[in-house]
Symmetry: C2
Subunit: 438 residues, 2 copies
């Protein structure tokens, strides 16, 4: 028996109580939770302030501080997330299929709650509430294992959420912080090991964070895992693309939230598109994004019309930083204001690059060529494949799923933005009248 | 790089070639495979004869020999399995859902092949062809890792299947035996370790066999796993049941194939049903099944009308063997002509027993009480929940799925009989006209 066993047992019991609740009951509890968070703003912001001060004192990068930070607007958006989940249909009790066998057995396939989930996540405190709301609506209990950086914020949010469920007639114990929130950061991952080994208690673990977290979870888990969030995303531009729209899409995909997993990291430009795309793009990104280009792309960005070797000339755009790309650039998820640019000679080369270096997250083609768009969609192996749009749309909210549990980059169980359905499974009901098998 | 890497690479390439094939092309290849196996009967039966002789010489139990054995009728049924897969709709390229977001992005969710699967299985050589056919139809490549006991049979079947695919215009390399069939049994599992660690090559591993095999796979896998086949199944009988039908169902669930994972292992009898059920059941099973009963069930079986302590009296039925049940009996998947019998005082007690000792496979209630049937269905946590039918129907063929890859006892990705859909995943296609995210 591990130190967390009592928590596992209590989550399992809470889930059994929650499972038969109908939509009206579950929605009432979630309305209670939304009201409680609204009411507890002061305490939540104070707790978050303590986390942010501690993080700054510890030297956390501002991009990460921004992930951690809560303010009134962000609390509004957390509440809006709960409200979006309330509006979602109940995913439980749906008859997905039903048929009668030749022998007269009546079989129905029905959605039921998955059971007890665990989510292991970094920084962002809104995940605490998003995950707990989705789990509750799906009739699942959830163990929330946030990072030590967000400890106080998560405690305040979870306490408010649980009290709100209770006030709304719901089951407060269906959501629990691992170790009651006493998470001691990377130096103490004992509770993570316990979660990963909790066969019979935890039906699914969702790691949501960087490559290292996901690797550790996958290597050590003996319960099922959905890998999420690692996004080395590409945009491939052909010469038929609308170049003004292309530059706007690339800027959006890189800069609207550079730390997001669906931000673009490498731009692939078909050689004949270089001259039309790169100077305008370079002007647009100058002073905002560092480019890591191969020779042809660099020359084009500098307006040198594909004369490699002359790229050391002064940049025509104020603040434009261009470095020479190396192999490592193709492999890197920068999560920062850096964009790799590679020249390709064909759609084949683009697809091969993506399938080799991509993480199966979000990939885009910008083209007006129908055959190319079809080929790209078919051959690129990723959860979300875009034609003429920014990769930043890969998101449960943007997809209309309400909140999300993360973005799955694996192919099993769920792929892409993880909404309510991720937390369901099926059960077959088989009805006979004394049927025996011949 | 591991010794199997070239096999992984070649499966991945074959899968990429197979993925865009349409249904007509895939079905033609499968018809070629069916014809080849029909033609190669002689060689297949000879190879199987060698395996069976080797197994007998090694002292294998007859129940396991029966799993291994092929004959003309069983080859017919292997071919019928391929034909059933041919008749199935193509699971690939289905638009499961499609919608337009408020901002005008058009999103479609489309089924695509899962990729490369691996199946690790024991004894039964028919699994080789069932799994390969389903994988091919789903556009997946598959690595077949059978047991050393069936080595020659698997080699002959796989060679015939591959040649048949080729003859039918298909891609022979989409199915491969691990180590070209040179599987050296439990003493050499190096290839299994490689399969379990083949991240980036193997998208899903299906262990199909006993508890020990599944445990080893789950502990060591770093690729996704679906657990299959462990079936500690129960039948719960209430006093309102049709007792004649009940006895027939129990006999069928125990004896129609005692070595199957969907065979019943423990009978739970509500106390008021003992007198009406047990004497007739005992008479029916005498000489065929050994009973492991608690006191009340034993007394009832012997016609002693619930007078425990008097159970040592001679059995009234020739050949009836009754032993006293111990705790271990509730935990055991006998896979043999043994049935545990426990008296319960309520549906609650039955459900609790099942959720504690069951493996989430197949569970049945025999009753004419509507509320009890509803309650049992709702509360029993298993892939297949039966009312008034034998648990033996949990089977891809019986469910109408064509062949099957096993029976999933987990909740993630797929639950219950594993058909074609198990080998699919989804991809989101997102179409914009220069869409950027605000």
């Amino acid at each position: 028996m591990s130190a967390l066993t009592p928590v596992f047992v209590s989550l399992k019991k809470a889930q059994e109580q929650l499972a038969p609740r109908n939509r009206a009951e579950k929605d009432a509890a979630l309305r209670g939770a939304a009201a409680a968070i609204d009411q507890d703003r002061g305490a939540i912001l104070a707790a978050n302030g303590a986390d942010v001060r501690r993080a700054r004192a510890g030297g956390m990068k501002e991009a990460l501080i921004d992930r951690l930070l809560l303010n009134n607007e962000r609390i509004d958006s957390i509440i809006a997330g709960i409200e979006a989940v309330i509006r979602l249909e109940d995913p439980i009790g749906r008859v997905q299929a039903g048929w009668t066998t030749p022998g007269g057995l009546f079989i129905e396939r029905i959605t039921v709650p998955l059971g007890v989930a665990a989510i292991i996540y970094e920084s962002r405190p809104n995940v605490t509430v998003d995950a707990a709301s989705l789990a509750y609506k799906a009739g699942c209990a959830i163990l929330l294992r946030g990072s030590s950086a967000a400890r106080e914020s998560n405690r305040a949010l979870a306490a408010s959420f649980q009290a709100g469920l209770q006030a709304g007639g719901g089951i407060a114990g269906a959501a629990a912080l691992s170790g009651a929130g006493a998470l001691e950061g990377p130096e103490n991952h004992d509770d993570v090991e316990e979660i990963l080994g909790a066969r019979g208690y935890i039906d699914l673990v969702l790691p949501r964070g960087g490559r290292e977290l996901i690797r550790r979870v996958v290597e050590n888990a003996r319960v099922p895992v959905i890998e999420t969030g690692e996004g080395n995303c590409h945009i491939y531009v052909e010469e038929s693309a609308d170049m003004k729209a292309a530059a706007a899409i690339i800027e959006n995909a890189k800069l609207q939230k550079p730390g997001a997993c669906n931000a673009v990291e490498t731009l692939l430009v078909r050689r004949p598109a270089l001259a039309a795309l790169m100077p305008g793009l370079a002007a647009r990104l100058a002073g905002k994004v560092e480019l890591r280009c191969d020779g042809a792309a660099k020359a084009a960005a500098l307006g040198l019309k594909n004369r490699p070797g002359t790229g050391e000339a002064a940049s025509p755009y104020t603040g434009l930083v261009i470095k020479d790309a190396v192999e490592e650039d193709w492999e890197t998820e920068y999560l920062d204001r850096v964009l790799a640019v590679k020249t390709v000679d064909s759609l084949d080369e683009a697809v091969e690059h993506i399938n080799r270096y991509g993480t199966g997250h979000s990939e885009a083609i910008l083209t007006e060529d129908l055959a190319a768009s079809r080929e790209f969609r078919r051959r690129v192996d990723a959860a979300c494949v875009y034609v003429n749009a920014s990769t930043r749309f890969t998101d449960g909210g943007e997809f209309g799923f309400g909140a999300e549990l993360g973005i799955s980059t694996q192919k099993v169980h769920a792929r892409g933005p993880l909404g309510l359905e991720t937390l369901t499974t099926i059960k077959y009901h088989i009805s006979g009248r004394g049927h025996i098998r011949d």
